[in-house]
């Protein structure tokens, strides 16, 4: 996993609550057996005016000029900001894969669905929960400030605006450490193999039917 320490980037405002994972990456693209290449279909139904299918030539697809990511001023954004309950719905990890593949490293929202939140952290995508009031004020500042950018500092656990205002955010210490160092969960867990085996031996004695 790519390390995440601190980034400064352009912010794209997606002014919607309950952005579900079907909207982030529609199901027709889940047929892939790879982890990459989902970025071009991120928010497919909102981004294009036709009904997308895998393998269709992107150049022939009509884009929706109204959609935020199709506006030139947000090209190259690395931070996405949205409203409550971002990432609700399906457990598809294709959602953070698509966001990362597109170029996002941070999603800011007042709240996130649990599975999406977890999946993001495992892919170097940092979900940052800030209060509804702060998110609302950032939306207003974006509307008033062309080229609005933010700095997100995982080491210091804060978001800093261009005017040097700082908003702190929470993240589990273990998750933060894994992201800062780009650590692989599996390698860490396998370091506890003896404890896992010990657990199994005890459980097998107490509930042998689980091991049939």
């Amino acid at each position: 996993m790519e390390k995440f320490i601190r980034i400064t980037g352009l912010v794209a405002p997606l002014d919607r609550a309950n952005v579900d994972t079907d909207a982030i990456i529609p199901k027709q693209y889940l047929k892939s057996i790879n982890k990459s290449g989902f970025g071009v279909n991120l928010f497919d139904a909102w981004r294009y005016l036709d009904n997308g299918e895998p393998g269709v030539n992107l150049n022939s697809r009509p884009i929706n000029p109204e959609f935020i990511l199709n506006k030139q001023e947000y090209f190259g954004s690395t931070i996405l900001i949205a409203r409550d309950n971002f990432g609700c719905g399906s457990s598809r990890e294709h959602a953070p894969w698509a966001l990362v593949d597109y170029g996002f490293r941070v999603v800011i929202a007042p709240s996130f669905a649990d599975i999406f939140y977890n999946n993001s952290l495992k892919n170097g995508l940092l979900p940052v929960a800030l209060s509804s009031q702060i998110v609302d004020s950032i939306f207003k500042e974006i509307a008033a400030t062309p080229g609005y950018s933010l700095t997100v500092d995982l080491d210091g656990k804060f978001v800093e605006t261009g005017s040097r205002e700082r908003y702190s955010f929470e993240i589990d210490a273990f998750r933060r450490d894994c992201l800062l160092k780009g650590l692989d969960d599996i390698g860490i867990t396998l370091g506890y193999s003896d404890e896992i085996k010990e657990f199994e031996m005890k459980q097998k004695l107490e509930q042998p039917w689980l091991y049939q």
């Binding site: 057996i33 892919n123 896992i196 689980l210």
Partner: protein, 471 residues
């Protein structure tokens, strides 16, 4: 001393170790695997030179991509076929306790085949790369949906890194009125609490109504816990749980069965347990429910109407109501019974079990699907459900009425195969999500119970299944 909640009992009995920030390594007893969220996980194992920790925990099937008609032709879409064949190959290389591939007599939706084969047993931790894994909580399992990185983690280590959830008790009291189903109960709950109320929580469902529901009904309730934001929903063990599991292929037998039963009887929240949040729902007041919008919380009684956004003071909520009505092609203050339909779908991990099909067949018997309905389909949850339904003659009842009787699979719940809505088509669906485009780009989904979907197919629009005509 304060007792433990059921969630805490399940949690405590599976913790291998805990980090200083309380992140726990949780041991996983059952790993359900399907074709969509597993290929990258197996590929990850392969690239790292790792092997599954315990293949006897794995039960796999192909369900999301598989066609539900013309099975003799195989899977025509080459991308879908490759994904299903990739699962075949991965299971053949890495192994599993059981695999029900495409066209196997026990193949079906992963959340239907787990319980029906006794692969889901009380007290287990159950994971699957699918958010509707919460279904298995109906058997007092700690069951959570996971992402593909976590699928790989569980394959490699038999463990999941988890933070303990907060506990949320939802008591559904009183008795349900006749012709009200588990689906109406859970849609009503989500309408009350909203789709984010369960975020960060494990929901336990209890109360007299839950006790009266069959195991099928309880699975419907837990299935949609995720639609309330909770990764897991759970229900305590009672006689119904044990009776359901006796004699299933993977249920313990002989002395083991007796031992297991004694252990399972303890799987309930203690009287003195304290929950972080508790709400009471009056079961007597629950009516047939129909969603009108693009989130499961946008739900109404059959007697109600679509909302009027102009009455909403919060601008963000007003905009979401406006967006939902626009997407659904509905005007404010439209009576639910005046909404005409194009298609009807009875199926999905929420409502495709034998009891669901019986309820729908009862409404359909001796009647005809309305001429205005372009397509009404019934997709059984598994090969075994299909076989049972055919033994009972339900297939004939559906076909006589003009329904299409299909092969098992996820089908039009998420439309990864050919079963999908065309843009603008409106569907009464027994599935779990009415998100934009869920059943096909531009498609419009209304979530209902099997009986309400059946009645809507006959009438051509939504109708109260309690009306004299259907009784």
């Amino acid at each position: 001393m304060t007792g433990k909640t059921l969630y805490e009992k399940l949690w405590d009995s599976h913790v291998v170790r805990t980090e200083s920030d309380q992140t726990a390594l949780l041991y996983i007893d059952r790993h359900l695997v399907h074709e969509v969220t597993s290929p990258q996980a197996f590929e990850g194992l392969r690239l790292a030179g790792r092997k599954p920790w315990r293949t006897s925990s794995i039960v796999a099937t192909a369900d999301h991509n598989t066609p539900t008609s013309d099975w003799a032709k195989g899977i025509i879409d080459p991308i879908s076929r490759l994904q299903v064949e990739t699962l075949d190959a991965n299971i053949s290389v890495f192994g599993a306790r059981a695999y029900y591939p495409f066209r196997d007599s026990r193949q079906g939706i992963v959340h239907v085949i787990g319980p029906e084969n006794g692969a889901t047993l009380p007290g287990m931790t159950v994971v699957c790369g699918d958010s509707h894994t919460s279904t298995h909580g109906a058997f007092a399992c700690l069951a959570v949906g996971i992402g593909t990185s976590e699928v790989e983690h569980v394959l490699a280590t038999q463990c999941l890194l988890q933070k303990k959830a907060k506990t949320f008790l939802i008591r559904v009291n009183g008795n349900l009125k006749s012709n009200i189903s588990a689906k109406d109960v859970i849609l009503n709950i989500i309408g009350h609490i909203g789709t984010a109320a369960g975020t960060g929580y494990a929901i336990e469902f209890s109360g007299s109504v839950i006790g009266q529901l069959s195991m099928e009904g309880r699975m419907t309730i837990c299935n949609m816990a995720i639609e309330a934001g909770a990764r897991s929903g759970i229900i305590a063990v009672d006689d119904k749980t044990i009776d359901y599991l006796e004699g299933r292929p993977m249920s313990p037998i002989g002395d083991q069965w007796e031992l297991a039963k004694a252990s399972w009887r303890k799987l309930h929240s203690d009287e003195s347990a304290v929950f972080d949040k508790v709400i009471d729902i009056n079961g007597e007041a629950i009516t047939p429910q129909v969603t009108w919008g693009t989130s499961p919380q946008m739900v109404s009684s059959i007697a109600g109407s679509t909302p009027d956004p102009s009455l909403e003071k919060n601008p963000i909520l007003k905009e979401s109501l406006d967006n939902a009505l626009a997407y659904m092609g509905l005007e404010p203050n439209t009576r639910i019974i005046d909404i005409p339909l194009d298609k009807v779908f009875i199926g999905s991990c929420t409502n495709s079990r034998i009891e669901d099909l019986r309820e729908a067949a009862k409404v359909v018997t001796g009647r005809q699907v309305a001429k205005s309905i372009k397509h009404a389909m019934v997709v059984p949850g598994s090969g075994l459900v299909k076989k049972q339904a055919e033994l009972e003659g339900l297939d004939q009842i559906f076909q006589d009425a003009g329904f299409d009787w299909r092969e098992p699979g996820c089908s039009m719940c998420l439309a990864m195969n050919d079963d999908k809505l065309q843009s603008g088509e409106r569907c009464a669906s027994t599935s779990n999500r009415n998100f934009e485009g869920r059943q096909g780009s531009g498609g419009r989904t209304h979530l209902v119970s099997p009986a309400m979907a059946a009645a809507a197919a006959i009438a051509g629009h939504f109708v109260d299944v309690r009306d004299d005509y259907f009784q």
